[in-house]
Amino acid sequence: MTLWTEALDAGPLWMRTGLLALASTLGALVLALPAGWALARRRGGLLLGLVLALAVLPTSLSAIGWIAAFGTQGLLPLPWLYSPAGVALAWTLCFWPLLALGVWGALSCGEAAEEEAALLALPSWRVALGVVLPKALPALAAAAVGVAILMLGDLGVPGSLSVPVGAEAVHARFSSTFRASAALGASLPMMALAFLLAWLCRGGWRGLASPASDRGAKGLEGISRTAYAVAWVLALGSLLIPAWGLAGWALQGGGFTKALALLGREGVTTLLLAVATGLGAAGLGFAVCVLLPRLSGAAALGAVLLFAAPGTLVGAGLIRLFNAEGWRGALYASPAVLLIALLARSLAPALLLARRSLASLPASYDEAARLCGIPRWRRAMSLAGPLCAGSLVAGALAAAVIAAGELGASALVSPPGVQTLAVRLFSLIHYGADAAVAATALMGMTFVLLLGFGISRKIRA
């Protein structure tokens, strides 16, 4: 089959996936609005940490959690969980915290004076619906589209539920043929749709990238208090329900003992790869932004594409690139190719954070140094680096978490004897999830929760 017939053949599949992503995004938006509002207006440190932890939790882990809650042996069994509707439910529950961070950015664009002027004439709920939300609409749409694009490229949820939609279908097609054109062809309709949506929302991205520090009018505090309470309920529910399901499951068959054995090998591999990826992504992102500032926009676009595209496509591309004779072959046979795959998939947040942080520095800092004749590398090491350290650390942590949960690319390029925990869990869950999987997922969630609080402290700093 040619690339185009593959693409045309996959069209109906992506239409179905697109509709699922649309429904899930709308559902996630409903859940995300209170949390986003509360974060923008009240800046609760604990709430931010919790939402952030849930947002960075790999979908492969969250999906196992929701299977534990709503699966056949779960707390509240839903017979339709292993269907497209189940994917939509799981996507909604997995992605609302990430969307809440986008809503936070979108709602931070408001100004207190505008809202206070409206409050003189209107009740607070009408100001919220008629002034605050419409002003944030472009950025809200951009955030929602961003999350929808991530859903389209997500393997964790449909893969764990074994429902052939989206990236799971790409993965299945590539796994059966091992042709990169099959992965690319099957991904093309989705990528075209994602490009189109991202382009249509281009104005909103700018709004998200430059939020004001204004916390809005005090007259809207009643709404903020309600939103804060709702956000806490949702965030705790999203943490405790799957955690409870996982704990019950894990305790049934000595899961924690088995999980420790699992963590011993794949856990250490994952940790080492995640640390290397985090450091590499933060270093690479910073170097690109400082040394090649004119190319950083294009680099950011490329990194976002690699992040949002189905991981299978990235893995297939790497196989095509490195499965050859000579040094490429040597690289392909080593864990380095896995590191390259993880770097490609997780560079985006590190690069974007570095870029944004550097852009926020006054230009005069660098100009003063240039007047003194300080070379570029020294300015990067002595000025830009220390001044952006918080964002670089946050970017490194985000990249490390993404790397730890990455599935699509790492499942394909892992050399013999080297496997990440996410890939191992993904394989195990297809053979029938057992207590060890639940216990491992629970420990993974705990680790990410701690990391989320760490990142939130950096962001607030």
Binding site: P362, A368, A369, R370, L371, G373, L383, L387
Partner: protein, 236 residues
């Protein structure tokens, strides 16, 4: 001598400087006056090499500065926001600035100590900029610029955040440094009375063009236009 000949600098489609001509004699203290948006800061930034002219030439001592990077132009500058590096101590700011000057480490330390003493910052070496008062921050910015030992000093409203006595004290220090080391000083300010009092020459910019240049008496007795007269009369 600093010379600008028919310099035009574009900011997007708008000309921030438009066919601007200016000559500043060596060792002179010249103040740049003008309403906001007149192009005063752009003029300093063009001399420093941060703005590239769309046309015209900038030269210092008959050396055309086209394509010359900022640190090879023989100028130092105090920025409007002072541009003190917030994560470094007072001494760290000076040492990092001097690290590009081709000095050995002991020479850098000696020069930094000299700058600290010269600008009244001795004993504050370990403080960071946010631990300094407004006046001390201005002095640190001046010390950093002075420490570079360049013959031209560009001052972009360095004392705008200070009260009058502190501003005047700082200006006296600048004048003293200029006398002792024959510095050429270009001083952007909104304080007309100060500019008229201390400057050898005053340049009035409006809409990106030099509309008048002369001594205090020239400006007060023979303003070039009603706009200059109105500006000087209204702001003094």
């Amino acid at each position: 001598m600093i010379s600008l000949f028919s310099v035009t600098v574009l900011k997007g489609a708008k000309a921030a400087l438009s066919r601007c001509d200016l000559q500043v004699q060596k060792g002179a203290f010249v103040s740049l006056l003008g309403p906001s948006g007149a192009g005063k800061t752009t003029l300093l930034r063009t001399i420093a090499g941060f703005e590239r002219p769309a046309s015209g030439t900038v030269s210092i001592d008959a050396r055309d500065l086209s394509g010359i990077p900022p640190h090879r132009r023989g100028v130092s500058m105090v920025f409007q926001d002072l541009a003190l590096w917030p994560h470094l101590s007072v001494e760290g700011n000076l040492l990092l600035a001097l690290s590009g000057a081709g000095l050995t480490r002991p020479q850098r330390r000696a020069r930094a100590a000299e700058a600290l003493a010269r600008w009244g910052l001795r004993g504050m070496e370990a403080r960071t900029p946010d631990q300094l008062s407004g006046g001390e921050r201005q002095r640190l910015a001046l010390a950093r610029a002075w420490g570079m030992g360049k013959p031209v000093l560009l001052l972009d409203e360095p004392a705008s955040a200070l009260d009058r006595p502190a501003r005047e004290a700082l200006l006296e220090e600048v004048l003293k440094a200029r006398r002792e080391e024959n510095l050429t000083v270009l001083y952007v300010t909104h304080q007309q009375d100060e500019a008229l009092r201390v400057s050898d020459r005053i340049v009035v910019l409006m809409d990106g063009q030099v509309v008048q240049s002369g001594t205090r008496d020239d400006l007060m007795d023979r303003p070039a236009s009603a706009a200059v007269s109105g500006f000087l009369g209204g702001g003094g």
